[in-house]
């Protein structure tokens, strides 16, 4: 491989040696995929959403394959911040990984505490606040799915609380299930966010016609994979037109060509999500593929291509 291409980026203050990270929840805490490739090659490892207490998540069934994708309602099962700090973060640090600590809380105060603890323990280099998980509400009782990310006022309040608790680069992860994604994104930007992560999964569901029962025990889940990629590219483009802060783009990326769509639409960084389940080395191949793309197109710096779609 040539050394002439500069793949490094600055994502809202987070320096990454290349633009590639992984979608929260598709890479656990990093260690699990190290038998397939050296995970420190990633621009950053994004952790599973961490909460103050461990969470068991939703009842099974939680997952079903769909055309070119999958539907999940895991419900943020995670080890909790204490186990992460004690067992997971040290491994990531020992292996030289840049860490985006994804957090989930039930209130602004919980998010703030999580961010503060990650920073105090040196267990993250940036914070990604998951304000958009579709799977932590019980669809049987809640009226639809109401997410923090669907209400710009709430996004502002949550972002302000986290911003006050940490100096680390702060990313706000948004939902595609909104009329205009610019509204929550601008609210986050005004409240001090350093970048926007988009998109989380698209709310969706499936029914087994034979049993007449929902396929997921939670009824509603989140759709991911290549099936949602065109939606994600469009929303990243929408964001890049209105934001001053950078975008971390994700949704159905399987290879460097897919990743380039996000970059050309305006994403500074990209995350590989569900496709890692199918092909564990996908993220590494995207890194190599981006370098190859730049060489083929005679581009010296990947950042020169951000938002470079020609219309």
């Amino acid at each position: 491989m040539g050394t002439s291409v500069d793949l490094s980026i600055n994502l809202g203050g987070l320096k990454m040696k290349n633009p590639v990270t992984v979608g929260s929840g598709t890479f656990a805490y990093g260690q699990e995929y190290n038998s397939y490739f050296d995970v420190s090659r990633l621009g950053a490892v994004t952790t599973k959403s961490l909460s103050l207490q461990p969470r068991a998540g939703n009842n099974p069934p939680r997952l079903v394959e769909t055309p070119a994708g999958m539907l999940n309602a895991i419900g943020l099962q995670n080890v909790g911040i204490d186990v992460y700090l004690k067992e997971k973060a040290p491994w990531l640090r020992e292996h030289g990984c840049t860490i985006i600590g994804n957090i989930y809380g039930a209130s602004p105060e919980e998010y703030a505490e999580l961010a503060q603890r990650l920073e105090a323990e040196g267990a993250a280099d940036a914070i990604e606040a998951n304000l958009s998980c579709p799977n932590v509400h019980n669809a049987k009782t809640a009226r639809g799915c109401t997410l923090v990310a669907q209400d710009p006022e709430l996004v502002k309040a949550y972002t302000e609380a986290i911003r006050a608790a940490t100096k680390l680069p702060l990313f706000i992860k948004l939902s595609p299930n909104v009329i205009d994604i610019a509204e929550p994104a601008l609210a986050a930007e005004a409240a001090g966010a350093d970048a926007i992560s988009a998109i989380n999964t698209i709310t969706s569901m499936g029914i087994n016609p034979e049993t007449r029962k929902p396929i997921l025990s939670n009824i509603v889940g989140g759709l991911s994979g290549p099936a949602i990629r065109p939606v994600a590219v469009k929303l990243v483009w929408d964001l890049s037109k209105v934001l001053k802060i950078p975008v971390l783009g994700m949704g159905g990326i399987t290879n460097a060509s897919d990743a380039m769509q996000f970059i050309l639409a305006g994403a500074t960084g990209v995350a590989i999500g569900s496709y890692t389940f199918r092909h564990p080395t996908a993220a590494m191949e995207v890194i190599d593929g981006l370098e190859d793309y730049c060489q083929r197109h005679d581009v010296a710096k990947i950042t020169d291509l951000v938002g470079a779609m020609e219309v």
């Binding site: 995929y33 969470r55 394959e65 895991i74 994979g225 569900s274 389940f277 564990p280």
Partner: protein, 263 residues
Amino acid sequence: MPGIVTCEVKMHQEVSPGHYRLVVHSPQLAGEAQAGQFCMLEVQAGLFPFLRRPMCFERIFKDSVSILYKIEGEGTRLLSRLTQGQTISIQGPLGKPWPLDESIERHIFVAGGIGVAPFPALAEAMIAKLGKTPEVILAARTESMLLCEEEFHQMGCKVHLATDDGSAGEKAFASEVLTRLNPGTGTMVHCCGPMVMMKATHVACEALGIPCMTSLEAEMACGDGVCLGCVVESTIEIEAERMVRVCYDGPVFESTLINWAAY
């Protein structure tokens, strides 16, 4: 350590209506795999099916492994078209193997339908490593779904047949046959089949006061313990450990660890 290997198909044939045996050449998998572990098969290139298919090792040979499967949906239907000489991407070996306990005197396998798939490798391992020949209860809905009887006979295993419709062996549930075999202290049961059948076997073993190992199946995305999609509820009351991953914590579990109430 799990890896991804491209394997050549040595043999692929229908052994019974809708049931196939796939033998692939892979010294790596054959060298690392243990009875009870599984692998993730990439049915074909492209985005359909999106996910790999988890399947256990039926037998582990010197430089190849065999996989026994049943057509359940579009993915396995496409897989069945794979022909000798073609290649397939396989990820593995994954999961925890069956335990090989030297203190156990009598081993009884309880296999339901395609749930027989992980047992030939276990019988071979027990004979080779423990010097013990297991007894096998082969149960299925009907005679054509009873698989591997000949293989177990060749290994010297005593085989008890049971079918729901009485077309072969006893017209009885596997758990009833198990109880009639009078398994006492020093016996361990190893069970794989439909959840209701494993539940009944677990209940029978509890009543008999003997340990029961169960090998579970679940839809899974990663096979590596990452996605948390394949979990089942355990009897552990600690929140962080209430859900156990079939792929990573299993697929073989002590039956007392599983909360069978939902099945």
